[in-house]
């Protein structure tokens, strides 16, 4: 398991408010509803100060339009369970990394039809390779990059030569 993910799991397991981490598993990313904000690594911390709950989140990309929706969804999920005083903080540093995505999240992503970062072939510059990303539909590596930027900034668009389907690839960042 990558070090970053290990630390995230440790943080969750040793948290004094474990039940809140579990509760927030129901908050999904509006762009990829198969994944929770925990799976994606957007959820950074949860603290309780008396009756006051502080949730810290971080954006995937600077212009991620989903952050406002996620903030609202976090508050709604906690409100529904009777928590009244909630603060959602946005933290920029350290900058979000695709390394933070949980193993479970990577599986869910593949099932959803999006290739996770590790399904790409290695490229010289560490950015998206031109070809050979594993097709999440049929498992072929006979694929090619169609566009560097997919339906959102965190994805690139590929086409599979074997099953002819196009698919999103979740970029390394």
């Amino acid at each position: 398991m990558p070090e970053e993910q290990y630390h995230r799991l440790q943080q969750r397991d040793t948290s004094e408010v474990k039940e809140l981490w579990d509760l927030l598993d129901e908050v999904k990313d509006p762009e990829i509803p198969a994944l929770s904000i925990w799976d994606l690594g957007i959820l950074r911390d949860i603290e309780r100060q008396g009756e006051h709950i502080i949730v810290t989140i971080t954006p995937t990309y600077s212009g991620c339009p989903a952050m406002d929706t996620i903030t609202e969804d976090v508050k709604a999920a906690l409100n529904a369970k009777g928590y009244e005083s909630i603060e959602v903080k946005m933290q920029l540093s350290p900058a979000w990394s695709s390394e933070w995505m949980s193993l479970e999240g990577r599986r869910k992503l593949r099932n959803y039809g999006v290739a996770p970062p590790e399904d790409a072939a290695d490229s010289e510059d560490g950015l998206t390779p031109d070809a050979h990303t594993l097709c999440p539909h049929c498992g072929s590596r006979d694929t090619r990059l169609i566009s560097e930027f997919g339906s959102t900034a965190c994805k690139a668009l590929f086409q599979c030569q074997a099953c002819k389907e196009t698919f999103d690839y979740f970029k390394k960042i």
Binding site: P59, Y61, S62, G63, C64, P65, L92, S93, P94, A95, W96, D125, L127, T128, I146, S147, E148, F149, G150, S151, T152, A153, L157, K171, I173
Partner: protein
């Protein structure tokens, strides 16, 4: 933080926010006008990255100002003379080659500037830069690919790309100039000494233009003034469109 440094940092955050906001808005104009769908989407993504940066810089400016203003006040309630973006950012969209050449010049600029800003003693500026660096690597790969493809492409694409290089060149000098405010911040380890990055920028741009069979223009002319609020005609038109809804319906929410 001393008051002088705080004021200078506020101004610096606004300038960096203005650069990102104006460029982000300008390139968002490509949405629905790209040469094909994937490019349309790519431009929308790059525009969003810049608008996101603008929000972070303006948000920080609002925090430093601490006078009730929000990020929206910086974006929507200032006129062209108060905007301090580089002129390069506000130049019109023109054709695809023109937009990509501008993007290349800017991507290389940020590719050098952001790694310096990450070292800033100001934690917020450093954090914004750290986030933006990763995005700029993707932007640069795209603009570089396009300039190579268009420059070393057909006779027409080559002609248009060379025209873009020639007409944008005079606006690139302003990127590497600093006034007293920026000098003070650079001396205090908060801002970037941008003058030191010029040679490396020139080297990288020259290499790509050469590979794209394009000529490097002579340094014959230079336009400046953006940082002190003297803009080209284009900015007023851009702001009119950007600010219209916010000013016509104050406080409107949906």
């Amino acid at each position: 933080m001393s008051d002088t440094i705080k004021d200078a940092t506020l101004e610096y955050a606004v300038r960096l926010g203005d650069d990102a906001n104006v460029l982000g808005h300008r390139i968002s104009e490509w949405v629905s006008r790209g040469p094909f769908l994937e490019e349309d989407i790519a431009y929308a993504n790059v525009a969003l990255d810049y608008i996101g940066r603008a929000r972070m810089f303006y948000g920080y400016a609002a925090e430093l100002a601490n006078d009730g203003r929000t990020e929206d006040d910086f974006a929507y309630m200032r006129d062209d003379r108060q905007y301090q973006n580089l002129l390069l950012m506000e130049l019109p969209r023109e054709d695809f080659a023109y937009s990509q050449v501008r993007q290349l010049f800017i991507d290389i600029y940020y590719g050098l500037m952001l790694p310096e800003l990450v070292k800033s003693k100001d934690d917020t500026l450093a954090a914004i830069a750290a986030k933006a660096i990763k995005e700029t690597r993707y932007h640069l790969r795209r603009s570089r690919d396009w300039v190579l493809r268009l420059g070393d492409g057909t006779e027409e694409s080559h002609r248009r790309t060379q025209r873009a290089v020639d007409s944008l060149w005079g606006y690139t000098h302003e990127m590497f100039e600093m006034d007293d405010t920026e000098q003070r911040l650079a001396d205090s380890g908060i801002g970037v000494d941008i003058t030191k990055l010029r040679d490396e920028w020139h080297r990288q741009v020259s290499a790509i233009l050469a590979e794209a069979t394009l000529n490097l223009p002579e340094d014959g002319w230079a336009v400046r003034g953006g940082r002190i609020g003297y803009h080209t005609e284009n900015l007023g038109h851009l702001l009119t469109e950007m600010q219209f809804v916010h000013r016509s319906y104050p406080g409107c929410q949906w």
